[in-house]
């Protein structure tokens, strides 16, 4: 981690009353900011510190913890300064809302839709918050930890016939 990045993180910690954490033994310092300040923080990170690319935006679910249940994980990259900044924002499971950063980084649009689709975190002020990967009428948010994987029993030689009976094979003609 360059000295420059350390001062950036220090300035952001002061300004948005955040904290820092270490990812792992060899990892980088990560900044934690309260979720309600993330839009403002993103604006400052983009405009003042020159992090012009949003590399990655995702979430993590810590179920069964409720408050905070989710962490939003951002990674901003500054192409001219050749450095990257990791930011996390805890989100409560009781009110999974977060402000959007779409106006600052345009590609947050789809990334936030993906987080909404798979985790059910709603982004306030988002221009087009629809499901993106799952069908529009899907129920539940698959990447939540309390959502089952949806494992089906595999067919082996010993249980082939048993499963074959209930396997819904398709027919040529549609059942009218």
């Amino acid at each position: 981690m360059s000295a420059n990045l350390a001062t950036v993180i220090e300035a952001l910690v002061k300004r948005f009353d955040g904290q820092t954490t270490e990812g792992c033994a060899t990892g980088e310092t990560t900044l934690i900011v309260p979720v309600e300040k993330i839009a403002e923080a993103a604006r400052v990170i983009h405009d003042e510190f020159g992090f012009n690319l949003l590399s990655s935006l995702t979430a993590v679910d810590y179920w069964p913890e409720e408050n905070p249940r989710f962490h939003l994980v951002y990674r901003f990259t500054s192409i001219p300064n050749a450095q990257s900044l990791d930011v996390r924002a805890p989100v409560s499971g009781l009110q999974p809302f977060a402000p959007t950063i779409e106006t600052v980084y345009h590609n947050a649009n789809w990334n936030e839709r993906e987080v909404y689709d798979l985790f059910g975190i709603k982004f306030e002020g988002h221009s087009d918050l629809r499901r993106i990967l799952m069908p529009h009428d899907w129920e539940g948010h698959p990447l939540r930890k309390d959502y089952p994987l949806g494992y089906e029993e595999p067919q082996f030689t010993f249980n082939f016939d048993e499963i074959d009976v209930r396997k819904p094979y398709a027919k040529n003609r549609r059942a009218e």
Partner: protein
């Protein structure tokens, strides 16, 4: 099978203009089954005559639940899933994932394994660009390139099959090194390829680069400025076609890329033709990298000696009780990674292929997220396509080089 429902615009009316709702402009559905969408991409086009006013991508038709499924497998077993994500860059996906695991548990990789990783990743980059060149030229009605590029691609797949036993889904790169050392024929096969490749790239270029029909279809089409490109999160050749120098291999070198001498091709036009030229130049650079890596390929082990994370070699299992125990434990329970999270990225043929990996201290990943370049690259399509013809849209989709498996995961 349930009755197929009527397609309606419900919930999407805010995306199209009022003119479309009044019936003045036409709404056209393109895909998910369409020959030039490179997979199962669906586009909702708003057209004024033949001019594209808006293109609304609808993705998810290939959503495979890879991220969720990886949470249910141990670190080694989850790796096979990464191959099937971006299926044109299988080696690069393995590499990105293995780098993340190695960073998380603190494994070091022998130099020979690093050099082999570079060789295979670059070969796979060439093969991915060959498929891109063949199919996107096919979209512009240049049939012969498809035949030529697939001829050379078979040679690369032959090399991959030689080292791993599989043509596409190699899973050759493993946490802590590679699966096993390459066979003796490997060097000759790669040298053969390197010898013919520069001439073959000239051959593809002679068909397209100065072809007036090709220039008409590509120059000035699908323009995007450097500033927009960065703000929309573009990476890879699509970004470098707009003149932004961002290549992870130079930006944050991994796997020993800093010791190779290569350039990052840049164009400033930001149109379809610029992206085409960047990719062609990238293939030449990849040939250069492979050449250098083969020339100074170090000898030595190809797997880390850390038995807590890397299974012992087969020869030791028969003689050492400890090796047998490690082997057994690693393939039944897997290894426990320390609690924490990492992000690591590689340069895939399409851009920044990032992996966010989080561990809760157990043998299975707690959360894996892939930052896929195509996902962000496709998002910009409405911006690029606005005001061009439907025929140009096909050229633009081809030039962005999307892989639907990469987008939908």
């Amino acid at each position: 099978m349930a009755q197929i429902e009527e397609v309606t615009l419900d919930g999407m009316t805010h995306l199209v203009s009022n003119r479309a709702l009044e019936g003045e402009t036409m709404l056209l559905n393109m895909g998910p089954q369409h020959p030039s969408t490179h997979g199962v991409l669906r586009l909702l086009l708003e057209l004024d005559g033949e001019t594209v006013l808006n293109a609304i991508p609808d993705i998810g038709f290939l959503h495979t639940g890879i991220e969720k499924n990886m949470e249910a497998k141990t670190y080694q077993k989850a790796e096979v899933m990464t191959d099937r994500m971006d299926y044109m860059n299988t080696v690069g996906n393995n590499l990105a994932y293995c780098l993340a695991v190695e960073k998380l548990v603190g494994l070091d990789v022998p130099v020979r394994a690093q050099a082999l990783r570079v060789v295979l990743a670059e070969l796979k980059r060439i093969s991915s660009h060959l498929v891109w060149l063949g199919t996107s030229a096919l979209d512009l009605a240049a049939m012969s390139d498809f035949m030529y590029t697939f001829r050379e691609r078979e040679m690369i797949l032959g090399i991959l099959e030689m080292v791993s036993g599989q043509r596409m889904m190699t899973t050759y790169i493993r946490p802590g090194g590679v699966w096993r050392d390459v066979p003796v024929e490997f060097e000759a096969a790669v040298r053969d390829l390197l010898k013919i490749m520069p001439r073959r790239i000239d051959e593809y270029e002679s068909l397209l680069t100065k072809n007036p029909l090709f220039i008409d279809r590509t120059a000035g089409i699908g323009k995007i400025s450097a500033e927009d490109a960065v703000n929309w999160g573009l990476t890879g050749a699509t970004l470098r076609g707009s003149g932004v120098n961002y290549d992870i291999r130079k930006f944050a070198p991994y796997s020993g890329y800093e010791q190779y001498d290569f350039e990052v091709p840049l164009r400033t036009e930001g149109d379809v033709r610029a992206r085409y030229l960047v990719r062609i130049a990238e293939m030449r650079q990849s040939v250069r990298i492979v050449q250098q890596a083969m020339d100074k390929m170090p000898m030595g082990p190809v797997r880390s000696n850390n038995r807590k994370f890397v299974p012992p070699p087969r020869s030791e299992i028969g003689t050492s009780m400890e090796a047998l125990i490690h082997h057994f434990k690693l393939w039944t329970e897997g290894f426990n990674a320390p609690r924490g999270f990492v992000y690591s990225a590689v340069e895939s043929p399409r851009g920044e292929q990032g992996v966010y990996l989080e561990s809760d201290g157990g043998p299975k990943p707690f959360r894996v997220h892939f930052r896929n370049p195509s996902f962000d690259n496709l998002q910009v399509l409405p911006v690029m396509a606005k005001g061009f013809l439907v025929a140009d849209l096909v050229a633009i989709i081809g030039s962005v080089d999307i892989v639907l498996g990469d987008i939908d995961r």
